[in-house]
Amino acid sequence: MRWISIGLGLAVTGVIGFFAVRELLIDPLYFFELFLGGLTRGSIYALIALGYTMVYGIIQLINFAHGEIYMIGAMTALIVASVLGLWGWNTAVIAILAFVFAIVYSCAYGFTVEKIAYKPLRHAPRLSALISAIGMSLFLQNYVMLAQTPEYLPFRTLIPDFHFWEPYAHIITSVELTIIITTVIVMILLGILIKFTRIGKAMRATAQDKVMAALLGINVNNVISATFVVGSATAAIGGVLIACHVGQINFFIGFLAGLKAFIAAVLGGIGSIPGAVLGSLVLGISESYFTGYFWSEYEDVFAFSILVLILIFRPSGILGKHDAQKV
């Protein structure tokens, strides 16, 4: 199995490398544009994938409702921005308030979802928690659909076109630039949170061993809640940014985005935070090249095929450690 994987890996890399070099020589600008498009896409995936990977790291559960939290973030931003816009507020204030509300509300939803659907099932079989998560996702989607609308809603971008960026705007728009920069900032902040703060330390301890962490005086329930809140916050940022980029949202956007982010998290090695970021960028960029050079309608098929291939040949992901199943 090992030699097959290595051989296949080399062959695939060779073919991809050959095509990449050829395309680069034919049309370098297009190649570069696709790269930046992929980078933008990957940044959004990374913001969502972080929530998946953190939650998985700490309670070994795929939080199916995570995509919905991202959708609720975007939806809240849309509602707040429209209301304030109609009241004639300043655009800069609107943008800031929309972001703040989206983050606060997403965190609140993430927190509540954990308390309702996952906490009572902490000691139940894995399958129960997973089904409960799917139920929650279904519920949240339909709740937004019924309370708001099943139609696509136009989302007026919150990010203005920067003047200083105008000369380069044909290569990468200011929204895309904002997405990439925001993602980098969020990653750095998150890294600091995990590495250097008390709660970050508690999170790492809980992820390693819940019982031991509890024995050492860590309130495991609070740590799990905090993990959901942090994950929801990054998802909300991703939701608002992608809504600014795409310009329209509906109740269903969380489903596919959540799946893609999950694939990215698995690709990088689920449970590992740098892995989630790396996996997202790899997935985003390769998806961008695939749609740019091959068939754009099979974009999702491509992503799922990557997932299946990764799970067959390297289930622990690019950066994940292989751990034996414990009894």
Binding site: I62, M75, L86, T112, A117, G135, T149, F255, I263, V308
Partner: protein, 400 residues
């Protein structure tokens, strides 16, 4: 906890939810006419409903805790007790049989048609029950196999003129084949990855059907699929429906028979053991991978047969019939009815599919309720409405 504190706690929770749902429940922005509706009535309703819901929720949580402490062993569902009793079982089964035989003759065609759909779900539910309920593998792409069956019939009929009765066994075989093909790479993985991979596979099949125009006619779908014939005789529209109804009844009976036999066979016991404890099961010498693969492939077989029936009944299929919602509906049937329990799944399918059909006014809340029910069932009654009862094997000493 004294009642005063409970009320206080519920009031806090109600207030929390009123704030939490405020932007989505109360504000409604019309982005085209640029107006805002404030629906303050919803604000109040959320408060009242969550107040009582949290009281009930907490009450049941506490009751569950206490039940766990006392640990009562004898909680076999009423229906199982009744069915074990011979005096009750015969008249009961007789009544059920009489009802289902008389059904298409008593009720108009519309109701027969709905009943056929519900019975197809019974079949699908029982098939998925093998995968999810018995073997404990969460399959979220069940609809893919359903689509395989439906498209197999539609395409084989369109191109080669094969009839329903020829395609039905062929599609069963095709379903098994697809089950093995998909199961082979992914069943080595841990359970939660399987859910995502199957979900992805379901979507892949749908996207391919939508985009591969030459093969599947794309989103326009395939029409004029003939209803099944009776030894070469085609019925009129009304009789064809009744005929279809009895075919489905027959298939359901066959499914029940097979599933029942499988459940108590060696492989069925291996599935249940594998679901309950993988490691212990492997230590007992059961081939984990092969056992899982059989469950997965058998589940796919039933889905494909259900697909053929579906195509024959609606006489038109397109990729829109095979979305993720279909998979989730079938999963709901199994989960809410009772994982692993055939009676539960049958009851679940009939209730969950028939009720929304007759309560058209609230049909749009169907998925919302399904989602909520999944969470509630998992938290309070993980075994579903009618839980499965394991067969008791008694040792009979040989008389000498």
């Amino acid at each position: 906890m004294p009642i005063k504190n409970q009320i206080k706690q519920s009031l806090i929770i109600a207030f929390w939810f009123m704030i939490l749902t405020f932007p989505i429940m109360v504000i409604k922005v019309n982005t085209i006419r640029h107006t805002i509706d404030f629906r303050w009535a919803n604000f109040l309703w959320v408060g009242i409903v969550t107040f009582f819901a949290s009281m009930i929720w907490n009450y049941f949580l506490r009751r569950n805790e206490e039940q766990k402490k006392t640990d009562i062993a004898d909680d076999i569902p009423l229906i199982h007790k009744l069915l074990q009793n011979d005096r009750f079982r015969r008249p009961f089964l007789g009544l059920v049989a009489a009802f289902f035989i008389a059904y298409p003759f008593v009720f108009p065609m519309y109701h027969t048609s709905i009943m056929i759909s519900a019975l197809v779900y019974v079949m699908l539910g029982l098939g998925l029950n093998i995968v999810v309920g018995l073997a404990g593998l969460l399959d979220l792409g069940y609809v893919a196999f359903y689509a395989v069956g439906a498209y197999a019939y539609a395409l084989l009929n369109l191109h080669f003129g094969l009839s329903f009765w020829v395609v039905l066994p062929m599609s069963a075989f095709l379903g098994t084949l697809f089950g093995v093909l998909l199961g082979y790479p992914v069943l080595r993985l841990r359970g939660d990855y399987l859910a995502i991979v199957t979900l992805g596979f379901g979507e892949i099949i749908r996207i391919v059907l939508e985009n591969w125009d030459d093969f599947s006619n794309g989103p326009r779908g395939i029409g004029d699929i003939p209803a099944p014939s009776f030894f070469g005789h085609q019925f009129g529209q009304h009789d064809a429906m009744i005929y279809m109804y009895f075919i489905v009844i027959g298939l359901v009976l066959m499914t029940i028979f097979f599933v029942h036999r499988l459940e108590h066979s060696k492989i069925g016991r291996a599935w249940i053991a594998l679901r309950d404890d993988e490691i212990a099961c492997q230590a007992m010498g059961i081939d984990k991978f092969k056992t899982k693969l059989t469950a997965f492939a058998l589940g796919a077989t039933w889905a494909a047969m259900g697909g053929v029936v579906f195509a024959a009944k609606t006489s038109f299929i397109n990729p829109m019939s095979f979305t993720i919602w279909e998979s989730i509906t079938i999963l709901c049937v199994v989960v809410i009815g009772g994982m692993g329990s055939a009676i539960g799944v049958i009851a679940g399918a009939l209730v969950l599919i028939l009720l929304p059909e007759y309560l058209r006014a609230v049909a749009e809340y169907r998925m919302l309720v399904f989602g909520a029910l999944q969470v509630i069932v998992m938290v309070f009654k993980p075994d579903g409405l009618i839980k499965s009862v394991r067969k008791v094997y008694t040792f009979k000493a040989r008389e000498e």
